[in-house]
């Protein structure tokens, strides 16, 4: 159920409702804090706990004005190393490289799975089981380990993103390579197509939609992997670095802005994947 033009009215109405519900939330969450601060005699240029709930320095839920100011502060200048855009760009790039890497290695595994029943019997159960396991838990250790062997910079983050996306991508590609029906394969046989030709002209194109379905599922997970990898080692850029710095500084508004930015990055990356999909599989439109 994607956003469609006809949905815009109701979507805007729901968004407006969310904003209207947000204001009382700010009051409920911050009112006791503001009241206590005033009782202690804190100097704030606002009168009454109700007004002060919107201008606390460390609110539980930041007021809309504070959020907008925070977004403005963290968004500009575009190329500042402490601003969001350049950091989000690096994290996003790591995730996309990771996805490409996962597709490459996953493709090799998928070909193996399709060609050899022995390989399938030996390996596929573990790939499937890995889907129910929180493999993200390996990320902090892997990134430290890679650092020990001299793999540093953006590469280990991309590797973590890749290995998280690897399992769903492999399963998707294997399914896709198997998906052509026997009619199509028979047709290729009547054309006297070689196995390689059948592979390139039938099986490979047929696997692409499955690949992108797997991408759509695993992009958010790969992004989580990249962020966790950035947090688990010394990083000089990336949303993960910003998140861990912010957590140490306990800057609440900044945390909220980073949440919005990461969410936006996730949605943007999935949109990116969808855009590449339309580009690569034009016949499906």
């Amino acid at each position: 159920m994607r956003a469609r033009l006809g949905n815009l009215g109701p979507m805007a109405a729901v968004a407006a409702m969310a904003v209207l519900l947000y204001l009382p939330l700010v009051v409920i969450a911050n009112y006791p804090l503001a009241q206590r601060a005033l009782e202690r005699g804190a100097v704030m240029d606002c009168d009454g706990p109700l007004a002060c709930a919107f201008s606390l320095r460390n609110p539980v839920v930041p007021a809309p004005g504070q959020l907008l100011a925070g977004i403005y502060n963290l968004l500009l200048p575009l190329d500042s190393p402490s601003a969001i855009p350049i950091n989000a760009f690096w994290t996003g790039a790591e995730t996309l490289v990771g996805l490409a890497l996962a597709a490459l290695v996953g493709f090799l595994f998928a070909v193996g799975l399709v060609l050899s029943r022995a390989f399938e019997l030996s390996v596929l159960p573990w790939i499937v089981a890995s889907q129910t396991v929180p493999i993200i838990a390996l990320a902090p250790m892997l990134v430290v380990l890679l650092g020990q062997y001299g793999v540093q910079g953006w590469l280990p983050k991309a590797i973590i993103a890749a290995y998280i996306a690897f399992f769903p991508v492999t399963i998707g590609l294997a399914k896709g390579l198997r998906s052509p029906d026997s009619l199509t394969l028979d047709l290729m046989k009547t054309y006297r197509a070689t196995t390689l030709q059948t592979f390139l002209k039938v099986r490979l194109p047929a696997s692409l939609p499955y690949l992108f379905t797997a991408f759509r599922i695993s992009t958010a997970a790969a992004l989580i992997g990249a962020i966790i990898a950035e947090m688990s080692t010394i990083s000089f850029y990336g949303l993960g670095k910003m998140l861990s710095e912010n957590a140490r500084a306990s800057d609440v508004v900044g945390t909220w802005v980073l949440m919005i930015a990461s969410a936006a990055l996730g949605i943007l990356l999935v949109a990116c994947v969808g855009w590449v999909e339309r580009l690569v599989t034009p016949w499906r439109r």
Binding site: M11, R117, L124, P134, A220, I224, M231, T255, M259, L265
Partner: protein, 333 residues
């Protein structure tokens, strides 16, 4: 033996002659035995093995892998192999563990870098009290509680959305978009709002589980065969009956799919949430703190615990699914 199953005759399948290929079984056994022998031989030694031994170990691994692949090929082709189809996967794991154990010991890789499987098992037993406490925190207090809250809130909300066309148009695009939001983005905000203890992680889990359940249950309630609704109308069923007897059963498989997805998401949410602040216990906390000071044996132990819990929980939901939706096409024999 090749013609035990007459239905396969004439299908063009290559008839595998005789029993399991003797050479493959021999290679598999010999490779495993050599690796095992070396592990026992090197159990207490702390010097790097000679070049000859190291070469022999690689060779043994390769030979065993070759034997395994031939045996797996036979099992795949042979009708008699159906009962032992789990063997290749089991042997893959055994071989991987055994080869890792032998090679790590042969090269004397420090335990701080990559611990051997047996070292991990020993630590798993030695640190059982700590890990049990971590499990209680992460699995019971965070993952399961958050999961139940998320599902509990998602069900009435989905009913509401399914009843209202306005909400479908206005809410569903947001709910679908939410699946592309990374969990770490939520964790710091929730940790600040609900404190360092389990409540904040349970909240993260609840939110991550909530949206897939809503998306799936609404689809299940709405994507119903129109002929089924016509049939219900011809029975003069009222709205309530249509809902209980047609829409709810139709939504059940969707619901269980979301639950299965939710178990994995809940484990990830609880563990990742703990990376952003915890009260000194929890599997995620343990993993992060020990990875930072090269306590990789306990990291592995924690991962094993988390994986076992994840698989068991998923298995439980899959079992419930089979119990409650046994009539569904995908599960019928």
């Amino acid at each position: 033996m090749a013609t035990l199953d007459p239905s396969l005759a004439g299908t063009g399948r290559r008839a595998a002659g005789g029993g399991p290929p003797f050479a493959a079984v021999l290679a598999l056994t010999a490779g495993h035995l050599l690796l095992l022998y070396f592990v026992l031989l090197w159990w207490d030694r702390s010097e790097v093995a000679s070049a000859g031994w190291r070469f022999a170990l690689f060779l043994a691994t390769l030979v065993a892998a070759f034997g395994l692949s031939r045996l797996a090929g036979w099992i795949a082709e042979h009708p008699a192999g159906r009962a032992i189809r789990f063997l290749p996967a089991a042997f893959t794991m055994i071989l991987a563990l055994l080869a890792a154990e032998a090679l790590l010991r042969a090269y004397q890789v420090p335990a701080g870098l990559i611990p051997t499987p047996t070292e991990v098992l020993v630590v798993l037993w030695q640190a059982r009290d700590v890990l049990l406490q971590d499990t209680w925190q992460t699995f019971v207090m965070e993952a399961v509680v958050g999961f139940l809250i998320g599902v509990g809130v998602a069900l009435p909300v989905s009913l509401l959305i399914a009843r209202s066309g306005f909400l479908q148009q206005g809410m569903m695009p947001y709910a679908a978009a939410f699946s592309s939001i990374p969990i770490p983005a939520l964790a710091p905000v929730f940790v600040h709002m609900f404190g360092l203890d389990w409540q904040s992680k349970a909240a993260v889990v609840a939110v991550t589980v909530f949206f897939p359940v809503v998306v799936n249950v609404v689809r299940g309630l709405l994507e119903i065969d129109p002929r089924l609704l016509d049939l219900m109308r011809s029975y003069a069923a009222n709205d309530r009956q249509v809902f209980v007897k047609a829409r709810v059963p139709n939504a059940l498989p969707f619901f269980f799919n979301a639950l299965k997805l939710g178990t994995t998401l809940a484990m990830i949410g609880a563990i990742v949430g703990e990376f952003f602040g915890a009260t000194g216990k929890g599997l995620g906390f343990r993993i992060q703190i020990e990875a930072g000071r090269f306590g990789f044996d306990i990291v592995w132990a924690a991962i094993i615990v988390a994986s076992a819990l994840g698989i068991a929980w998923f298995g439980l939901v899959a079992w419930l699914e089979r119990r409650f939706t046994a009539w569904h096409v995908s599960l019928r024999e």
